[in-house]
């Protein structure tokens, strides 16, 4: 399958990743090869099996439970100010 440069760019933006010029070609090839391989399953149809994928969720009571929390998590974090997470300006 042929993945275009535009698709790579779009995917990278959605994933918040960037690739250098040479990396773009490599990842195009990698993804292309993998997706071509996956074409093999496209034509196969599966009888609608009634096997459910999973059970269902158990709901939680609306009760407050104070979870254990080791403050070393904050102490070692240099991006904290006034107990909040600090960031470069949000646009």
């Amino acid at each position: 399958m042929n993945i275009e440069d535009i698709t790579i760019k779009k995917l990278a933006t959605l994933s918040k990743l960037e690739f250098k010029e040479d990396e773009v070609q490599e990842i195009k090839n990698n993804l292309g090869e993998i997706l071509t391989f996956m074409e093999n399953m496209k034509d196969i149809s599966f009888e609608d099996t009634t096997t459910p994928i999973s059970n269902s969720s158990v709901l939680r009571e609306d009760i407050h439970i104070q979870k254990e929390f080791d403050d070393a998590f904050y102490e070692n974090n240099k991006n904290i100010e006034n107990n909040q997470f600090k960031l470069p300006t949000v646009l």
Partner: protein, 464 residues
């Protein structure tokens, strides 16, 4: 003579203290690099608490320990909480002791993609220990740990166990809580034991399994003791997929057939069965796993913890540069693939299709278990291969053909060592049962262990 987990249950407090000291001492060498601490050249992480020491994979949260998942992106992340399995260990007299190395964010089968460096195979340091729980397998195989916990999404416990000649068990999906396990693929991940032998695996499995209120995917069923119900004399109908065995390397193939013969002679019924084209399972796996991973890893963004790029000019740069520098190649590749298969216009053809395949695989296995108690399969088509073997990403993924479908179907599977190839590398095979029926795996595994009478010499030597 090695102390097994079973033996350590009977140790006195003094003997236990000695055991811990001995592990510390032995692990201060950096050979094999199974522990992250060995690669970082620091002392093994431990708690202020006496218990039977269990090595913990670098993707399981232990409160106050740094957890990196083998990635730069989690550099500096000090976990503030304990995974449920850690609390379960403590309840049963075990303690986390040392962090084992892994492929970055559990994506890989070599343990060569960790930011801390590579872990080697104790049987031959030029060979991979397997992955992603290569560290856990390596420390148990080398005698640096009594037992360890690993995680398995597409074979990450079973394959390194096979490559290192130890026992690795992946539980039925939902039998062990995932709360506190850094998620790779939510619908496939499971934590499981990597041990010296089958009995130890039963003990450790018992200690960690159970329903967890904090995990919505946890099975709300009654759990019985696997260890107490071990019975190596029960005979089973074992299904063999000849086609799969034929795909293996000669020595490995031979050892598998020898084991089948031994089982047959011992009274088990061997039956030839057919499953499905493994290629389909692989496609489904990689779509599902990468899709879920691309979403699960979105929380690693440099905002609240972990690595953040220095002096970004704005938020966008902070996100992009942090993640592009923080993640390794394979992780980025899988995130991109995962994003693609979920994206508008492709979701039906890929992700939705992969879920249909999942139903198909489950139903195929269910059908098979109508006429078999167990399925016997290879774990991987080869024994441990050399580092830096030139394989494309796709070729790497194809190594997972025998382990992946078990994850997709949510079934339990165990890798058991059965011998050595002509290069001295361990050979192994895999037992699979239907869900919640793992007692049969342990029973037959125990039986097989006795029949092949194989224990790696590394395991046999050593003073812990």
């Amino acid at each position: 003579m090695r102390t097994t987990l079973e033996q350590s249950l009977k140790l006195s407090k003094e003997e236990l203290k000695e055991l811990n000291v001995s592990i510390d001492k032995k692990s201060s060498s950096t050979s094999f690099g199974g522990y992250v601490e060995q690669l970082k050249k620091i002392p093994l992480k431990k708690l202020d608490r006496l218990g039977i020491p269990i090595a913990i994979k670098d993707n399981i949260n232990v409160s106050s320990w740094e957890m990196n998942c083998g990635s730069k992106m989690l550099d500096g992340y000090i976990s503030p909480y304990n995974a449920t399995v850690i609390n379960n260990l403590k309840k049963n007299g075990f303690v986390p002791f040392g962090v084992t190395n892994m492929d970055e964010l559990a994506m890989g089968s070599t343990t060569d993609t960790s930011i801390h460096g590579r872990t080697t195979n104790p049987h031959n340091v030029e060979c991979v220990p397997g992955g992603s729980s290569g560290g856990s397998a390596s420390v148990v195989a080398s005698g640096h740990a009594i037992a360890a916990l690993g995680s398995d999404t597409g074979g990450s416990i079973r394959q390194p166990a096979a490559f290192c000649g130890v026992v690795g068990f992946k539980p039925s999906y939902g039998h062990v809580s995932r709360y506190g396990l850094s998620a790779y693929s939510s619908s496939l991940d499971q934590i499981g034991p990597i041990t010296q032998n089958v009995t130890d695996a039963a003990i450790l499995y018992d200690a960690i399994k159970g329903y967890d209120d904090l995990d919505s995917t946890s099975c709300n069923i009654e759990f019985k003791s696997t260890y107490k119900n071990l019975n190596k004399t029960e005979k089973y109908t074992i299904g063999i997929v000849k086609e799969y065995v034929e795909q293996c390397e000669p020595d490995l193939k031979e050892d598998i057939y020898k084991s089948i013969e031994k089982l047959k002679s011992d009274g088990h019924t061997i039956k030839e069965i057919e499953l499905f084209d493994t290629k389909i399972a692989i496609s489904s796996y990689y779509i599902m796993a990468t899709a879920e991973a691309s979403s699960n890893l979105a929380r690693l963004d440099g905002v609240r913890y972990g690595y953040r790029y220095d002096n970004p000019k704005d938020l966008e740069e902070m996100y992009v540069k942090s993640r592009s520098v923080g993640f390794g190649k394979e992780v980025k590749r899988r995130i991109m693939l995962g994003t693609f298969v979920l994206s508008s216009g492709y979701y039906d053809a890929y992700y939705k299709k992969s879920k249909e395949i999942q139903k198909y695989v489950k139903s195929k296995f269910k059908e098979t278990f109508n006429s078999c108690d167990l399925i016997l399969m290879p774990v991987a088509p080869t024994t441990a291969f050399k580092f830096d073997t030139e394989l494309s990403p796709l070729e790497m993924y194809l190594n997972d053909i025998f382990t992946i479908s078990i994850n997709i179907a949510g079934l339990p599977g165990m890798s058991i060592p059965i011998g050595k190839d002509s290069n001295g590398l361990p050979t192994a095979l895999q037992f699979i049962s239907k869900e919640q029926d793992e007692q049969k795996i342990f029973n037959c595994g125990l039986n097989l262990e006795e029949l092949v009478n194989y224990q790696s010499d590394i395991i046999n030597e050593g003073d812990i």
